[in-house]
Symmetry: C2
Subunit: 323 residues, 2 copies
Amino acid sequence: MSLLSGQYVIGVDLGGTKIYTALAGEDGRILAELKIPTGTEKGLQNVVDGIVDSVEQVCKTAEADPGAVSTLALGAPGPLDTKGGIIHYAPNLRWRNIPIRQILEERIGISVLLDNDANLAALGEHVFGAGRGVANMVYITVSTGVGGGLILDGKLYRGFTDEAGEIGHMTIQPYGPLCSCGNRGCLEAVASGTAIAREARDLVARGAGQVILVAAEGDPGKIDAAVVASAAAGGDPEAVSIITGAAGSLGIGIANILNLLNPSLVILGGGVMETGALIWEEVKKEVRNRALDAAWTVARLVPAELGGRAGVMGAIALALDRE
Amino acid sequence: MSLLSGQYVIGVDLGGTKIYTALAGEDGRILAELKIPTGTEKGLQNVVDGIVDSVEQVCKTAEADPGAVSTLALGAPGPLDTKGGIIHYAPNLRWRNIPIRQILEERIGISVLLDNDANLAALGEHVFGAGRGVANMVYITVSTGVGGGLILDGKLYRGFTDEAGEIGHMTIQPYGPLCSCGNRGCLEAVASGTAIAREARDLVARGAGQVILVAAEGDPGKIDAAVVASAAAGGDPEAVSIITGAAGSLGIGIANILNLLNPSLVILGGGVMETGALIWEEVKKEVRNRALDAAWTVARLVPAELGGRAGVMGAIALALDRE
């Protein structure tokens, strides 16, 4: 299909393991997309080449004139500076103070926008997913880590220095397990997929958790949140306790957000939220227990709709100036 | 002084114990003010009469023509509906679903605005106090309870149903003391003046806390946050431990807010924050420990400037449409 006269935008979701690039029309519909390995270990130049090649490739696939692409928006892990277009620090890319916007603008010759990947996922769900038409919503993704983004009074809320939305680093258990950020008891340290798997492996290492071990085909290395959730779904009390604990912590975090921000919608995505009904039931129970009635009664908790596409769809929304 | 040709606004801060009314000019400067007892026990009509009388009185004091008052803004405890002008539920006024805006507009004959008292205190500090010119700021008051308000991207943030800013009901200790809201371990239940006094009284009831008891002139009924803080300032380890514990909880709550909202300013007011240097030092230490570096390094923690006037000044700001 040829749309030579049309205007296009490109969204790029830059992660530690893959670069996800999509070309979209003015309505936001994806016309072509491509995922390639990030190749961080080969250095910055290689990652930039990967983005540039991906852009050419999606244009070619969609038979779109690269000259008709108005804007490229890039979602990347923070901390970063959206106005300056600089990624300050991205441990999983091994980058420090990379002026990625300038680099890409010089290579591709079009306007480039940079934003935080979790913020863009929130924006994606807001514009194209479960949060369409909702002015006050919170997006939380629970997978390896816990991240999120805020849409407040109809706009993506970034904070003073683009650092807002770090939901995963809310303290839930003041004396809880150490988090990668150095703090103790962060939501990410007690409710992420990594935390769930760690707890189950600790059980197994102590000679307990045998049902979980069987669900992992006898290999402790295969224990992840999905394995624990499947054992829990089968009624294993140890697995139920781990999932319930993580859900309870998530519920505390969400209740805190309801009390503080009074959204009408909380969108929950990420692999951990896809492990079954138990985690949803327990999250809702804890939120209802903890949140003020006036905040709880007006807030719905719903699953994300865009899955792994949320970030790239958010980048497309940003490029289309639909924040 | 007569300003017959000028335009005036009136701010009213309606609390459980007092009605605080102030008349201001277009520049927000207070020209006359009055505090009277709320008299809740005498019923709704009496409270309304008190507000109407106060309005007449401040006009008289300032020699202002009541016909030149454009707007009255009323701050009241929530939950309430700012658009409908209805106070849904105010336990300390014993009110349920009172259409206070309509009642006052009919009695006074001018435009009336209603908003949450803590939100208006935040707005007061934003427009006239420690947060002048600051687009992303959080106001927290720590006194009998813990309340607050949010200014985000330059505007008062109210949430979907005017319930935002309930900082006092953030869970800090999941299995902590019961809060008046029914939840456990809320910030208010572990760090308010009431919580500090309760902890000290519990100590004394167990036969400990003798230095605190002396500071309270031997009367456990006189133990409050100021008494505990003065014993702590004198080096009493039990008092230091109570203040440090409350400050640590406050620090966790503030760190959570920095990570979530990335403000450039946190304004701390209320009697507990005026008890001395120890609580400030300990709050800052905990925030630095808990908040992400990127959020902590850009955020200042400063004392409120308006004291007990914050709410009425915020009402004036609202009446002047300076939210």
